[in-house]
């Protein structure tokens, strides 16, 4: 339930800051664990690596707890949960949709990255919110089809660099240059599909797998900034999720 506060601070910058902290700690922790893995046997080297690993694990725990607290605070202040069932067609012409859509985008992009095996990248909800703001004032939006709306939002997400970081996990099922396009395309495809809360996650996984299966075509239209081609791909596969 929404709290009736006279002044409602924007919790997103704090939440994003904590997420970045968690990301940096986690990435640092992975590197440290790799380094620690090389310290064989006993002695001072082993003690040092065990100490470093323990400290990093504790920092990760603290950062995750802060993230959870900040997320709860944001929900109480705004009084909304992420809506994982709304489609872009339903959002058409509605306002304001910024905070809830940005939050949905954050969650969905993160899930897709995890599914394709590259959660080493960082998703910025602040950048997603900025992309949504700009997308909402794009000319011709009211006459646009679902595919055109999704393509317009996709390009804004690319321009605002909503997915950040340089290191793509080698276990990722998609080639490194295609990871961002595939992830954004999957979420746009998912936003075009009617789905119940029960099937929402399965639909997202399905959209991610379709996007990964056509990764080369997806990466090409993004690289060329071919919005017409992107609309065609989205319309082609929206009924196959």
């Amino acid at each position: 339930m929404a709290m009736n506060l006279p002044f409602q601070p924007d919790p997103l910058p704090l939440r994003e800051g904590l997420r970045r902290l968690r990301h940096v700690v986690r990435r640092g922790g992975e590197t440290a664990r790799e380094v620690a893995g090389g310290a064989m046997g006993g002695g001072e080297m082993c003690i040092a690596s065990r100490l470093a690993t323990a400290v990093i694990a504790e920092m990760e725990r603290i950062a995750e707890e802060f993230d959870r607290m900040a997320s709860r605070a944001a929900r109480q202040a705004f009084g909304h949960e992420e809506d994982l069932t709304t489609t872009l067609d339903e959002l058409h012409g509605n306002a304001p949709i910024g905070p809830s859509l940005a939050s949905t985008l954050y969650t969905a992009l993160s899930l897709v990255l995890k599914h394709i095996g590259s959660d080493t990248l960082f998703v910025s909800e602040l950048a997603a919110r900025e992309a949504v703001k700009r997308w909402q004032v794009l000319p011709g939006r009211r006459q646009a089809s679902g595919g055109q709306l999704a393509a317009g939002l996709a390009m804004q997400l690319v321009d605002r660099q909503v997915i950040r970081g340089a290191h793509v996990d080698p276990r990722c099922v998609v080639a490194a240059p295609a990871v961002r396009p595939v992830t954004i395309f999957a979420v746009m495809l998912w936003l075009l599909v009617a789905r119940s809360p029960e099937e929402s996650e399965a639909a997202l996984i399905s959209a991610a797998d379709i996007a990964a299966a056509i990764a080369e075509r997806v990466a090409f239209v993004f690289a060329e900034r071919d919005e017409t081609g992107l609309v065609a791909l989205l319309e082609k596969y929206r009924n196959n999720v």
Binding site: D209, A213, N240
Partner: protein
């Protein structure tokens, strides 16, 4: 175990959409495949391991094939719906997305399910979706060629399918009682004989 292939709509996952629509959705296609293959595994006495990544690629290739060949004239759509399952079978057999961890315990080697369990499971999947869809759309029951259990056809099928993937489409059409155009069995426009609800088929039935 019976020599007749067993397939039933009850093996398919529920959906609020017509089956011809649901079958073109990856999440339903995968769920249906997993359920049917699981049931066939129980029947044969073996466990199938599914490669989801391969299955997705197969699904995408099948959609592409449908898109390339979908006929414009309305009167050909029913026949194309009937033809579509042979294209799915071709894609599945060309890059089998399942494998057994051991020999089937309940199927003899001289039966299709014991001889080539993976292709047999894919055949049952295609037959299940095919028969349920035709029943729902046109109230037509699917009849199977009695020669389906003949091991000689399966020997020939296995040999030929490995050399030419299109052969699988013809094998499936033969199974449904249609004489394939063996030169290009995967091409709808060059099909021979009578297909479901085509004008000449209706005239013959009348």
């Amino acid at each position: 175990m019976s020599d007749e292939p067993v397939f039933s709509r009850a093996d398919l996952p529920p959906t609020n959409e017509p089956l011809r629509v649901a079958a073109r959705r990856l999440r339903w296609f995968r769920a249906a495949f997993a359920r049917v293959v699981g049931r066939v595994g129980e029947e044969l006495g073996c466990a199938f391991e599914i490669d989801d990544s391969k299955l997705t690629q197969i699904f995408i290739r099948w959609l592409e094939a449908l898109d390339r060949q979908r006929p414009v004239p309305k009167e050909e759509r029913a026949a194309f719906l009937e033809f579509a399952s042979s294209l799915a079978f071709r894609e599945l057999v060309s890059d089998l997305p399942i494998r057994t961890s051991g020999s089937p315990m309940r199927a003899r080697r001289e039966m299709p399910g014991g001889f080539w369990p993976e292709a047999y499971a894919c055949m049952i999947f295609c037959l299940t979706v095919h028969s349920a869809t035709l029943e729902q759309e046109y109230h037509v029951a699917t009849t199977i060629d009695p020669g389906v259990g003949d091991l000689r056809s399966w020997w020939s099928f296995r040999e030929n399918a490995q050399e030419d993937h299109a052969f699988s489409a013809g094998f499936f059409q033969k199974l449904l009682g249609h004489e394939p155009n063996w030169f290009v069995p995967e091409q709808f426009r060059y099909r021979v004989g009578r297909w479901l609800l085509e004008p000449e088929a209706d005239e013959t039935r009348a």
